[in-house]
């Protein structure tokens, strides 16, 4: 997970999204412990209160739960709901892309091509790493 303060997305939201993504990808599975607030704060180099805020959001959303004397664990039904959350975030981003394309009068064929290019670029970067 990477935190980038220069983007307008609030840091707590970046952390929450990061964990949601990690659960969806199977990095954390049901019953797994996620790092403590303090450990997470030190790894990501952010204020512990910010991590706390992210965890509270995930707890409210039912993705993680506090297990007494153990810490924060990933809930049983989390994988499906994390997938849902990630899907929803993707849908919102793509809607923005479509809206932007409409206002800039870029047609659907061009957007399809740009989208494929973006995937290819990303794959290339992945291989060279």
């Amino acid at each position: 997970m990477r935190i980038d303060p220069s983007t307008p997305v609030p840091i707590f939201q970046q952390i929450a999204d990061g964990i949601r993504g990690a659960v969806a990808a199977g990095v954390y599975r049901a019953g797994d412990l996620i790092p403590s607030v303090r450990a997470q704060a030190l790894t990501l180099l952010v204020n512990p209160n910010t991590v706390q805020r992210a965890y509270e959001q995930l707890e409210r959303d039912g993705l993680i739960a506090c297990k007494k004397g153990v810490g924060m664990v990933v809930c049983n039904e989390s994988i499906a709901s994390a997938r849902n959350g990630v899907d929803q975030a993707m849908r919102m981003l793509l809607e923005q892309v479509v809206q932007y394309a409409r206002s800039a009068e870029i047609n659907r064929t061009s957007v399809d091509r740009l989208y494929r290019d973006a995937w290819n670029q990303s794959d290339k970067r992945g291989q060279s790493r």
Partner: protein
């Protein structure tokens, strides 16, 4: 005084001139217990002067300072064992070895905590036998931090601690600050030009401009409540009506960007109903954006 323990760093109506120039101008700032505050401003805004007055190295012309409950400068000597201070340049004699610098510093503090010092030695990976002048910039800064923290101070004051560090050392140093302070619940003030660091680490941010405090706010609520509203103007030449709560505005071609504080939908409605605009969108901002717009807005108003 009950409010001194509640606010371990407290400054009231602080003023300082150098010759004719007013460097710190009627500055009041109270930092609650256990909070970390990022102190930001342009070069020459008065940050270092303020900090030097706080730690008793410089006398104010007027105003009050209380650090950890002690009045500065009158109770400076008693205050010293309750604060840790990392200045903007190294404060260790170059010829001293790391261990010698530690032995030297510990003599000044009745409350020196050898166990804590050892823990920090390990955490920062310092070599006792190295001479201070041979330490890298980052290692030198870590030694300063170790010396500032080993007596378990209630208050930690850092003056641009990471300027000129490479990214790796910066990260290690800040990790050290975070690890030490989150464990001990210290009250921390750190000045910085790196707004990304302030956004990451600070509970709240204090913005100093031309010697005056223009803002002191929790970082999260500041970022929650400050927005940029971007509108496309139908007619660039007609007069624009700006909404209440505007901090800064900018027109570039047909694009009109308005930064507002205490954002609400009413501001968007105001812009829409008082101006001929085609499209309107609300954007989140980073601390970097907020800082620049506040400073530009202050300049525009002056």
């Amino acid at each position: 005084m009950s409010d001194v323990t509640e606010f371990p760093i407290m400054v009231k109506n602080l003023t300082r001139r150098f010759g004719k120039s007013l460097v710190v101008n009627d500055l009041s700032l109270s930092i609650p217990f256990g909070k970390m505050v990022g102190f930001i401003g342009l070069n020459g805004a008065g940050k270092t002067t303020t900090i030097r007055m706080m730690v008793g190295l410089l006398k104010p012309d007027s105003g009050e300072i209380a650090i950890a409950g002690y009045r500065v400068p009158s109770q400076r000597d008693s205050m010293k064992s309750h604060i840790g201070y990392v200045p903007d340049r190294p404060n260790v004699y170059g010829w001293m070895r790391v261990q010698e610098a530690i032995d030297f510093a510990r003599a000044f503090y009745p409350n020196w905590n050898p166990d804590h010092c050892e823990r920090l030695m390990k955490m920062f990976d310092l070599d006792r036998s190295q001479r201070a002048k041979n330490l890298s910039k980052g290692q030198g800064a870590k030694l300063s931090l170790l010396l500032a923290l080993s007596h378990d101070p209630e208050v930690l004051i850092l003056d641009e601690p990471t300027s000129g560090f490479d990214p790796l050392v910066r990260e290690e140093f800040l990790q050290g600050v975070l690890a030490a302070t989150s464990e001990r619940r210290q009250t921390v003030l750190f000045s910085s030009h790196t707004l990304a660091d302030v956004e990451r680490l600070a509970d709240s941010v204090a913005i100093l401009h031309e010697g005056r405090l223009v803002l002191h706010s929790p970082v999260d609520s500041l970022l929650d409540c400050t927005k940029r509203i971007r509108a496309v103007l139908e007619d660039v030449s007609s007069a624009r009506q700006t909404p209440p709560g505007m901090v800064f505005q900018q027109v570039s071609g047909r694009e009109w960007t308005i930064t507002v504080e205490k954002f609400s939908r009413d501001q968007v409605e105001f812009i829409r109903s008082h101006n001929r605009v085609l499209q309107i969108e609300v954007l989140d901002v980073s601390l970097d954006d907020v800082f620049k717009d506040i400073i530009r807005g202050t300049r525009g108003a002056a």
